[in-house]
Amino acid sequence: MAVESVSVKSAYEREELLNGCQAVSHAVRLADVDVVAAYPIRPYTEVMDQISKFIADGEFYAEYIIADGEHSQFEIGKHAVSVGARAFVGSSGTGWMYATEALVATATDRLPLVAMCGNRALDDPGAFGVEHNDALMLRDVGWNLVWVDTAQQALDTTLLAYRIAEDPAVMMPTAVSLDGAFLTHSQHMVKIPTKEAVDQFLPPYNPKVKLDPDNPVSIAPQANEDWVMEIRRQNYEAGKRAKGVIYRAYREFNEIFGTHYENPFFEEFMTADADFVLIGMGSIAMPAKAAVKEMRRKGVKAGYISLHWLRPFPTEELRKALSRFRGIGVIDRDFAIGTPDLGGVLFHEIRSCMYRSSSRPNILNFISGLGARDTSIEDCMRMIDIVSHAKGDETEQVVTWIGVRE
């Protein structure tokens, strides 16, 4: 469908100082969401505060429910979508884990719920600093997972999440992950789109199948060995189709909002002529990019890749991009215990993706920033340094913990 764009300048009505949570709440306000289920847990809570204030001030209308726990919160969201409403929920860390039963069922029932995950360490101990293990826990079950680097991206990507999740070829729930504190809490100037522009970008949610007395269906009947393979395969194929839909959604978004998300899946920073590259997700991009510039001043041709969509994983695109470098340093802001080479979650995703690459860059892994421990520019420079000196032979240490007292 040809998209005649609202004139670019008028796609935005104003700019405001917002943190990541508030940015997402604007997207929810603009996206004609019907049902919001809230439950407090640091660091994502403020998105729900702001949404409630919008409702109280009549800035938009949605049914707003204070749930009795994350399990109920996410079930409320899931079943609101099942009757044809657009819903928004969110959580962090151990709250996200308490909702896991609902999260998985939402994906396997192919209900396009959108959730914000304010990434936070899992319990125990009850640390509320950022770690990515919460959202990563869903990486196999049929949620589309995307990480953002800035509050602006958080707003834009939440709108994109609805467009992608609800596409008839996809129909998969989508989680937008923001690093706790660094993104959820720090405030930046954010451009806020107009309702007209968002309405043009995001069609109303009108699912082919829903609980509707005019066309009775039964959703999620009990299955046995006669059926489960086929059901899993249907969801598996949706996961394949999601990539194409993401490209289309971003193209439409750029046209309407005049943004420049050329590559929806990852952003490349100074990689054109780079020999050594760091790759990570979320707010680690800030110190990493600064370190790239510092190392280039020292004559080391470094670069940084910030991965956004972990699911669907951009296998071909990332393999093509990474195969150009001599060395790659994967930064994991998550812990992984007893894994192959004791590497982190993102490390294994990247190494697996590169296995079939004709060129064989050396791939190392850095565990850093757990529980919101600062990752400084120097930390990132050290990572680049380690990668640039690595020989890539059998004996070499694969994983280095950066920033731990040892």
Binding site: D109, R110, V217, I219, M229, E230, E237
Partner: protein, 386 residues
């Protein structure tokens, strides 16, 4: 020699869910231990999708044994499947199952001899004749044998087990039906040690009592039910969605729209026989039926749809008019046709037919299944044909 051709015995036990759960498991377990006592490798399992078992729904238990394969290989050949696709010995603990078994939706109504291979043997605990049984079984293009161990189906509750010796009698019968599986000496030795002399004698008597008959290729019937074809993953709605029951309600037989994929008729060992001439249209049979099988006729009578009736007996218990609804042995019937239509065509003929089917005895089951039952005289109520 492929593993498939190795010397082994694959045994299935057809039973009524819950009522014969403990019985089937004991028989299966004992067959394993007897085979082991004969130096064989053996193991048993239930059919996983039968669980959770439901009162009356056909279920299966399996035993596999071999004196040639290792346990690992036997497990690979037989154990890695949820249901045996070929069996050498089949035991049917309730002979009403010869009308077909439908354990769950989309499985279809399958003949009890569905999985037999050439020269297999199927043993029925039954008081019926060979011909009567054969007139219900699907014809095969190979020879096999059927055996009859005289006796009534032994039913228990979930907690209360009716220890009437059926388990040891079946062990004796298997030894006779296929001595290559378990031999009578090891059966008797095992039974005596575990259950005592009296039970061993029962096993021996069954060994002698079992009657066997060769079945020639082509003997039996053309099986009337289709086996459902399950759709490919591209052929059904995504999002784990199935169509709800659709259709317009209308009064009269088959007037209620129903789930076409699961008939339940094979769950019953007895069916409600209705004397429409005595019916006062009080609605209680229709009201109490957990399976919604009664279609209200334009005249206000209640016509049971036997394809869906599970034979629970609540209608008979609720009916206030003596002899108006009586539960009768399912074996006496061979069709699921609407009784109301038979009655309308020929009221007197229907009533005579019904009374002949009911016979003189009325069985009153004890409150706890398996604790026996009273047999009373049925009252002959003359036809009140208006």
């Amino acid at each position: 020699m492929s593993l498939e051709q190795a010397r082994m015995k694959r045994i299935e036990i057809h039973y009524r869910g819950i009522f014969q759960k403990t019985l089937a498991k004991r028989i299966g377990g004992d067959l394993v231990k007897i085979a082991v006592s004969q130096g064989k490798v053996a193991f048993s399992n239930g059919r996983y999708s039968d669980s959770p078992e439901r009162d009356g729904i056909p279920a299966k238990y399996f035993v596999y044994m071999s004196d040639e394969l290792s346990e690992e290989d036997l497990e690979a050949v037989c154990g890695a499947k949820l249901e045996a696709d070929k069996v050498d010995i089949s035991i049917v603990l309730d002979d009403t199952m010869i009308k077909g078994v439908e354990p769950w939706a989309w499985y279809g109504i399958r003949p009890v001899n569905d999985r037999l291979v050439a020269n297999a043997v199927q043993v029925f605990v039954s008081n019926r004749t060979f011909d009567d049984i054969l007139s219900h079984l699907e014809k095969k293009d190979f020879a096999y044998r059927i055996g009859i161990l005289p006796g009534e189906a032994s039913f228990s509750g979930l907690w209360y087990y009716r220890d009437d010796g059926t388990d040891v009698r079946v062990l004796g019968a298997v030894a006779r039906a296929d001595p290559d599986a378990v031999d009578i000496d090891h059966v008797l030795e095992y039974v005596e040690k575990k259950y005592g002399k009296e039970k061993a004698a029962m096993a021996k008597k069954a060994y002698e009592e079992l009657r066997l008959r060769d079945v020639r290729p082509g003997e039996g019937i053309v099986w009337p039910y289709q086996k459902p074809v399950l759709p490919k993953w591209t052929e059904f709605q995504e999002g784990v969605v199935v169509e709800g029951v659709k259709g317009q309600f209308r009064k009269g037989p088959r007037g209620t729209p129903r789930n076409p994929h699961f008939k339940r008729g094979t769950s019953k060992t007895q069916r409600p026989v209705i004397r429409f001439d005595l019916c006062t249209k009080c609605t209680l049979c229709w009201y109490e039926c957990p399976d919604e099988v009664f279609d209200v006729t334009p005249e206000g009578y209640y016509d049971p749809h036997y394809e869906y009736c599970t034979g629970c007996g609540r209608c008979a218990e609720a009916c206030p008019v003596e002899e108006c609804i009586v539960m009768v042995d399912e074996n006496r019937f061979d069709s699921y046709d609407s009784p109301w239509e038979m009655y309308r065509k020929d009221p007197k003929g229907y009533i005579e037919w019904v009374e002949s089917k009911k016979g003189d005895e009325r069985v009153v089951p004890s409150y706890v299944t398996g604790m026996g039952m009273r047999v009373e005289k049925g009252k002959k109520v003359p036809a009140k044909v208006r």
